[in-house]
Amino acid sequence: MSWRRRLPGLLLAALVALPVMVFIGWPIGAVLARGFVVSGPMPEWRLQELTGQALILMPEERRAAALARWSIPRNDQERAEGLATAFRLAGLAPAWDIAAAFDLQVPEAEAALAALPPDARARVAAELAVVHVALHRRVALAFQVRDALSPEAFEALRTGAETRIGLDHYLAPLHDPHLRRAALNSLGFALSACLVTTAIAFALAFAANRGGVTRPGLLRAVTLMPLVAPPVLVATAAVMLFGRRGLVTDGLLEKGLGLIDADETNIYGAAGVLLAQLLSFVPAAFIVLDNALRRQDGRLEEAAAIAGATRAQAFLQVTLPLAWPGLKRALVLVFILSLTDFGNPLLLAGRDVPVIAAVIYDEMTAFRNTGLASALCVLLLAPGLLLHLALERLGRRRRFDTGAAAGGPPEAPLPRTWRIGLGTLAGLVGGLIVAVYATVALGSVTRIWGVDWSLTLVHFAGGGGPYDRGLGLVAQSFWVAALAAPAGGALGVLLGFVVERVRPPGGEALAFLALLPAVLPGLIFGIGYILAFNLPFGTESLALTGTGAVLVLNILFGNMFVGLLAARAALQRMDPAAEEAAEGMGAGLLRRLAEVTLPLLRAALLLGTLYVFVDGMTTLSSVIFLVSGRHSLASVAIFNEASGGDYGAAAAKSMAILALAGLAMAAIWRLDRRGGRRLEGIR
């Protein structure tokens, strides 16, 4: 009887689980797996080994004759390369400049060989015989022993490339100096960004919650603005203001005041990246810390005050320790955001200051090296995880709860100096954020930024076609987001219902899977879609890449977690008695869902839908690899135009996206209020 009662629920669960596993589980799994698949040129030792094995397959006398022929280098290049390789295989470093011209290398290499101690020289000589074959005569060898080899082995020997399972991609940052530099840069940016951003966000949140500014509502609104920003908005504005042709650097300081040379003194470099990341990530950190401080009981600070503590003592001993869990979350959040950010570093530091996220972007777009890109994506997760674990150990404490419904902030005003300091900081950050938006707005109506300052609407004119500089792409973005949004919201809410009320086996695991795109870098989710849906099961007719559908699916499944979280939170607060009552009256699952439960999840559905839509309009990292000539998105075009210096086009699209996102938020807000009044009585 019991299983028959549960059957409809389990069917619903299966119905929801299937797409989640296919469109979230599979792509992420594919990235994890792909990092271990090494395909490409073999390392020297492997080439040498394979060549040795093939030589043994040759008949004795033919081998001797062939070796005699093959081991003589045909020119200086072969000679020099052979010697260098033999040195390395013998475990020695070539003691000459291997970057010099080959005719200069040869005598130096010969001399280096002669200068070796006898046993080392013997080792090099032993390798040298096979090295020339391995490097330069492998093709000939392969055809000689073709009959004795499997087709794969023949192919591997002929091309010197192979596909195998290995850790090479994961270990690459250890060997490759470029990757090592990128990794260190990434960590440096992430650490400085998370410290600076969290500190500033905390100061702003403190100001908003403890009377540090006179208009906390305004501070919140301005600080949260970059949440709804098209990609690289901050970096674009920074370049437009402080770049080589920047309004401030070139227009004011060089041409106007003659103070600097804008080609020399500008925003480009590490400091610029840091500033752009700060402004981009301050909203996320602010949300976390604003929440943490708002929920703190103001009575605690009053208790400290009447005990004789100064404001600073109360802050250090009461406010700060209580905010520590929030601070930890903000630190890790910004750290991960910075680590996976490639837009700001690419735009503001270019390839001079490589970071891992930008390397991943290059490996995917320029070299199609999906293996290395996948492995780097996975490696990118490690530092964030380590930081999280380290912070957990550092502040290990019992969970303390000051009571969510605790009293408001303390009434006593902050000392004057605090208010001045916090007010100045809030003004500075708020001013910068407003300046970013104002600059982009101005750029969208300026003919050629930095050159021709005349006003124009040309950037808003659509032309059609793939090279549309106007708003055609914004319309495409809109349709993609508008298709993904309701589906993503509904699926998230449905999954929330399944996990909370149907409680199928493995429900929590399913919810975790749906949450993964939220915690993993968007890059992973984008690359995963390429790996999974380029050639699913080797069947071309199933391929999704290059279609518009892949964009919709990626945005839908990448953001459905918001509806899921909102629905779960709502259902956890809600007594299941009403649903049980309906069941007792004989209502089936679908009727209960439609008439009892879903109406109560209206707010969750709206929030989930809005989030999918806004993120769909603005996201860059997960879709940048999925766009094609026929199906592109405005956000990707903005990034390309901003990198290419076409600020007018980028700015016009940004403004259009902002307008659409604003409209969507207003529409959802209205819907929410209309339905909210009806629900008022329930709460």
């Binding site: 009981d297 400290a304 404490r397």
Partner: protein, 332 residues
């Protein structure tokens, strides 16, 4: 003293003096301004006009920490990241007391407050009653001149509430401490205070010893807010008030004319021949007494507390009462 929040007047021209060593309860319904008055005394809230005077000196501009007061919050407001001992020691530590002295004093007040064995616990490891004892210990640790308590027992169970109430009073007596105690529970105020200040809409309605407030209410509001009472319209002539058709006992000197009688449940006694005859509406056994609600033919309901061991009259049956003590009078 005066304090407004926007258009709402929280404290409206209140003047209150507390003598050293006195235990004063501010009693009133929520929103009457009692907590605001307390927070002004503590220095958390600045008054719009008026002064806070401590030992003859103006303390209105002093920050809370410089006033030498202890404060006990309804929500306890213990520091969740600190142990009970660290919480209690906090005011001593910020005052720069030495570690030896601090430890000794913490142990001493913990002993007084009955939490000596709980000092290493964190607030979330303590029950509500224990948390409030820690909060009390923290408030009295620096030996404040004045202890302010803002509904300290409101969040606790009835049983613990009564016990802790008596302990708080015992503690202030032992330490010779002055206390200002905010509560909305009239029973609590009656039991704990030397003087009760009844507040209503930001004003003081009446103040006096518990007996005085209970037995001689100054207004209809106080009569109904403090304790159970039946109000009867009465007409007095020749020093005798008459209501519900009978003459009621009265203290001498009742002026002629209209007045209100405040009949407390204990002012009535069962008497089969009593003049107040009516129908029993309900009879509930309260443990200490039998509470009978009697409906008179006039429609008036009388509430009487009768001896608990009396046989319980059946609802609907006829029953009779007589006045056993002189009820309080309110002029109309």
């Amino acid at each position: 003293m005066r304090k407004c929040f926007g258009a709402a007047i929280a404290v409206d021209d209140v003047s209150l003096a507390v003598r050293a060593g006195e235990f004063v309860a501010l009693l009133g319904a929520s929103g009457c301004g009692k907590t605001t008055l307390l927070r002004i005394a503590a220095g958390f809230t600045a008054p719009d006009s008026g002064r806070v005077v401590l030992d003859g000196r103006d303390a209105t501009a002093l920050p809370p920490g410089a006033r030498g007061m202890g404060f006990v919050f309804q929500s306890y407001a213990l520091f969740p990241t600190k142990t009970a001992a660290q919480n209690i020691g906090f005011p001593l530590r910020v005052a720069g007391r030495g570690q030896r002295e601090l430890t000794a004093r913490v142990a001493e007040v913990a002993e007084l407050c009955g939490i000596a064995g709980l000092l290493d616990r964190y607030p979330h490891e303590l029950s509500g009653g224990q948390q409030q004892r820690v909060a009390l210990a923290r408030a009295v640790a620096p030996a404040p001149r004045l202890l302010l308590l803002d509904e300290p027992l409101a969040a606790l169970d009835a049983r613990i509430r009564q016990r802790l109430r008596d302990e708080i009073r015992g503690l202030t007596d032992r330490l010779g401490m002055t206390a200002l105690y905010v509560t909305h529970d009239q029973e609590e105020a009656l039991a704990i205070a030397d003087r009760i200040v009844v507040m209503r809409d930001g004003r003081i309605e009446q103040q006096g010893a518990p007996e005085e407030v209970y037995l001689r209410p100054a207004s209809r509001f106080v009569a109904e807010f403090v304790g159970q009472a039946t109000l009867l319209e009465a007409e007095a002539a020749g020093g005798v008030p008459r209501a519900e058709g009978i003459a009621w006992p009265a203290e001498p000197g009742v002026p002629d004319g209209h007045c209100l009688l405040v009949v407390r449940p204990a002012d009535l006694a069962a008497d089969p021949a009593g003049p107040l005859r009516g129908e029993v509406e309900s009879a509930r056994f309260l443990g200490g007494a039998l509470r009978v609600v009697l409906r008179l033919p006039s429609g008036t309901r009388l509430v009487a507390d009768l001896p608990a061991r009396m046989p319980r009259p059946a609802p609907g049956s006829t029953f009779a009462l007589r006045p056993s003590a002189a009820p309080a009078r309110l002029p109309r």
